[in-house]
């Protein structure tokens, strides 16, 4: 009766002594299988996984971090907007910064629409400015934001960090602008008492 695969594995791994299997000493086939198993165990054990570059581990962790953060957030669109809920102390200076940015953008667009540069061919011609629509959200938002803005807040806004907020504010759609207005009004009301 030949040794089973389970017997041979136990013998090759040393979890069972060869003395416990006298058949091994007398059967050429089982002996050969035993020797082959021992040899392959050694070959397999000597095989290592190539080590990737050190930067790979940082990238791997960063990718996993981003995936987990996305999993936690579970929102699309403007995720930065939701983070403002947790930083009310920043809302007033950011509101001031947003108001100033909006004012510049809106004033600039109004100027371009209402005033044409003198042309070489017809220096007296000017364009009629468009009337402000009643439902012009940026202007309404600007009005709301600056209603309670004092000089100190405006001054703080000039040294507020540049970059993300300004870009985001000038690229919001109508729904996002409405939500921003609501958040800022809430924060200003809470800050001003």
């Amino acid at each position: 009766m030949h040794l089973t695969p389970q017997d041979l594995v136990d013998l090759a791994e040393g979890t069972r002594s060869e003395a416990s299997a006298p058949h091994l000493a007398t059967c050429e086939r089982c002996r050969r299988e035993f020797d082959d198993l021992r040899q392959m165990l050694s070959v397999v054990a000597d095989t290592e996984v190539p080590e990737p570059p050190a930067v790979f581990w940082q990238d791997l962790s960063a990718n996993i971090h981003r995936a987990v953060a996305a999993e936690r957030g579970g929102r699309t669109g403007a995720p930065w907007l939701w983070q403002w809920r947790w930083r009310p102390a920043l809302l007033v200076p950011c509101a001031a910064a947003a108001a100033i940015v909006l004012a510049v953008v809106i004033a600039g667009s109004r100027y371009e629409r209402g005033h044409a540069l003198p042309s070489m061919s017809s220096p007296s011609e000017t364009l009629q400015s468009d009337s402000v629509a009643d439902d012009d959200l940026p202007m309404q938002l600007l009005g709301d934001l600056t209603e309670n803005l004092d000089v100190e807040s405006a001054s703080e806004a000039t040294v507020a960090p540049r970059g993300g907020a300004e870009h985001e504010v000038t690229h919001l759609n109508d729904a996002e602008l409405r939500e921003l207005r609501r958040l800022l009004q809430e924060a200003i009301a809470n800050a001003g008492g």
Partner: protein, 193 residues
Amino acid sequence: MAAASAMTAEETPLAELAEQALVEACLSGRPGAFDLIVERHRRTIYQLCYRFVGNHEDASDLSQDVFLRAFRGLRRFRGQSSIGTWLYRIGVNVCLNRVSAKAPRVEPIEEQHFVDDRVESASERLLREERGARVRQAITQLPPKQRAALIMRAYQDMSHQEIADVLGSSVGAVKANFFHALGNLKRLLGEEV
């Protein structure tokens, strides 16, 4: 005195938390908690995945998948095993699903990078690396359960019972898979061993 010096779990540095407390910190959203779990176990998981699929790109993708699945399943971690064992089981299942669905893409030997400080000649190192690459390639050609049994036993030193638990089979079946895996490897490698 003891009360004054005792810190709450929220105050204890993440690195000093016991495993179950670290998991709870992850679930409560404490920043860096899951990042720490990733950092501690990323190498083991990556190596597991690499052994299954034989190339860096797929191993990297699978590793990220493993940790994302682990994050989603954190609430089910009961502490009956270590986090490492738990992650490894997730990794095996992720890899088994992948290799069952898709044939592995094995990297050419020249694309595999090695970092090794063994004292050996360049030719010896090259021969060892080439043989290692062929062994890894042969492993990726094994049937999934034979591959899984081999990897878990040979590289993670898991007991046959632990392997059986992961694969949902018996100890006898695991040993038989292990036996046939080594036999198939010898046939695939032929005269090289």
